[in-house]
Symmetry: C2
């Protein structure tokens, strides 16, 4: 079940702003062992939350399955019979932690556009404070996919003494110009929606639904592989004949419009803006004259880096850059490039080879904990 | 200089609708020879026009260079000292031919949303009628890039006796699900802009500028290669430091926003919708149980097919499918895969190897004309 912790000590942000007070929503699975050495932190990507695993029954009776439920749980690759797993919603997001839709105690109104821009490093700092409150000095592993993998990487250098293993899946050490371009078009769609009201749409009792829907559709295309889309949808039509109009007539149109509309019902547009900015900004090498090798020098963790062949958002080449920088530093690294058809989304899917690999890596982690104990 | 021709005979469209009367804007370069055997038709892609080559001085004194001026002109690969070249604006577009912004004589108002959906085949039929009025029974070549290449392919099977050579560059015999997805997101951006007014924005004295801008930004990303974007823009910032805000701060953001805004000032949103639909619908194999080989069986032309290695919109694989279908039919085909960094846009750029190849092909065409004479 979700828990919450309120932090009154201000969180200094990379932008120079401070966030205070703030609340973090989190969820834990499994049991912390006596020497507190079996904790695993799972970092979420753009549209996920602290609800990593298990099933919640919502107020309307529907079931809410954790976003990485195939990966985390009893007997699963990250086995909650062995590990104490923590999922935490990042500040700026919209699933319970303080974010743009939260009431700012200073004004009595939602933060809206005044919520400060947060970075991957800010999130990691917030997560470290949560670890403090839970009495976890060192994680057996910090793990994430995509944007979550960036957080795992940032942990490895920002708090090297607190991370035994760093697991970054389908991730990158920085966005490409093309990645930034897609994010910016998505932001433009949101910000030019007249219902956006400069980010203060809450006061107008509306949301920039159309903009958010288009933003999600753009993102969604980049999560899927061209081949997988071809296989699943191809040029299949919803009806027998061409309609010569603008209703959804190809199956792929119908699918993306539906998914976009659904997303726009539950996700906060300001959070979308903030999180895409955090993605754009992440670039640990930039403080080291562009050298990722120098940026990762401080890390002491063991690394598991995984990429997927058909991921064109964060292609295997991006993971290989991370691996190279780790090897330059003679860090311990395991790298796997999984031949999977599902594009970037593969990291969330149930692929046997991928899951066996992660399970084996966590077996090793668990064995080492056993020895230490 | 642009010319116009009014057609009073209705044009029957694939949708079952008829267009009448309609006007085509076109431009010619070079001189038609005595036996009318040196005519070349250039078909345009999404946002181009009949103004293929040469420079016009606009009313405001600025210069308007033809969109394929590096390819077509005296001494250029398509040499207007040898060939009589015709550029024609397709109906549904917005550069002089009848389209959604044209006044519908029946109502005295712009067509707007009532303009019928047109297809690649409809355009080819309109172009054939224009050829009739110009006294051209058979083209030495029909040529185009991208969507223009689709028109050239359609010519080769719809009017096989009227096409000696078909030149299709950076094209495809059908859009993939991913291609359709990008087009549909672009259309959704336009159609959900409140200024769209169901396509009748002319009556409201406005245009869906924001939607069209986002649509163009999406398209633009797909025209460039990831590598080329990385090289030209990378993660370069416009200022020294991160701004932690939403103004354009990466160079790539600034570039795409500027290009999107410029496009939204001159292009008609309804034309954008229509032309992306024509792209989506093109699929000559669909009438032959999905067999492109069967679809191209009727062709008698010689073919030049060109693709570019970094084009991920219409990748070389798409051109190879066309080549395979042509070879299955034992048609004459020359195929080149040009190693160029510029993605889909490469077909418009001045690449020496590419231009030499096209020049050599047109030398052959010209030599054959000489013999025939």
């Amino acid at each position: 079940m979700p828990q919450r912790h309120v932090f009154t000590e201000p969180l200094p942000l990379q932008s120079g702003a401070r966030l205070a007070p703030y609340e973090l929503a989190f969820e834990t699975y499994g049991t912390l062992n006596a020497d507190r050495s079996n904790a695993v932190l799972i970092c979420h990507a753009l549209n996920a939350s602290h609800h990593v695993a298990g099933v919640h029954v919502l107020d309307d009776g529907s079931l809410d399955v954790g976003w990485w439920d195939n990966m985390v749980g009893p007997g699963k690759p990250v086995d909650t019979d062995r590990f104490f797993v923590i999922g935490v919603n990042n500040p700026g997001s919209c699933f319970g932690s303080t974010g743009p839709s939260t009431i700012d105690a200073a004004t009595g109104k939602p933060y809206g556009a005044s919520f400060p821009v947060v970075t991957v490093e800010d999130w990691v700092d917030a997560q470290a404070r949560l670890a403090d409150t839970l009495g976890i000095a060192r994680f057996a592993a910090v793990m994430g996919g995509s944007l979550g993998g960036m957080q795992a990487l940032a942990w490895s250098t920002r708090y090297p003494e607190r991370v035994a293993h760093c697991v970054a899946i389908a991730s990158t050490a920085k966005l490409s110009a093309q990645n930034i371009a897609f994010n910016d078009v998505a932001r433009q769609a949101i910000m030019t929606d007249p219902e956006f009201h400069g980010g203060n749409y809450y006061a107008h009792d509306t949301v920039p639904r159309n903009g958010l829907r288009v933003a999600r559709m753009i993102g969604h295309i980049t999560y899927l592989s061209d081949d997988d889309m071809a296989e699943k949808f191809g040029r299949a039509l919803r009806a027998d004949d061409l309609a010569f109009g603008y209703e959804a007539e190809f199956e792929i149109e119908s699918y993306l419009r539906y998914q976009g509309a659904k997303f726009s019902e539950y996700f906060d547009a300001n959070s979308y803006l903030l999180i895409t900015k955090a993605l754009d900004y992440f670039d640990p090498a930039s403080a080291h004259d562009g050298s990722l090798t120098a940026a990762l020098a401080r890390a002491t963790a063991g690394f598991l880096i995984v990429s997927f062949t058909t991921d064109w958002r964060f292609a295997p080449e991006r993971s290989r850059e991370i691996v190279k920088a780790l090897l330059d530093n003679r860090h311990s690294v395991t790298y796997a490039e999984i031949d999977a058809p599902h594009g970037h989304d593969a990291f969330l899917l149930d692929d046997a080879r991928y899951h066996r690999l992660v399970a084996a890596y966590f077996d090793r982690i668990h064995a080492a904990i056993g020895v230490a104990r």
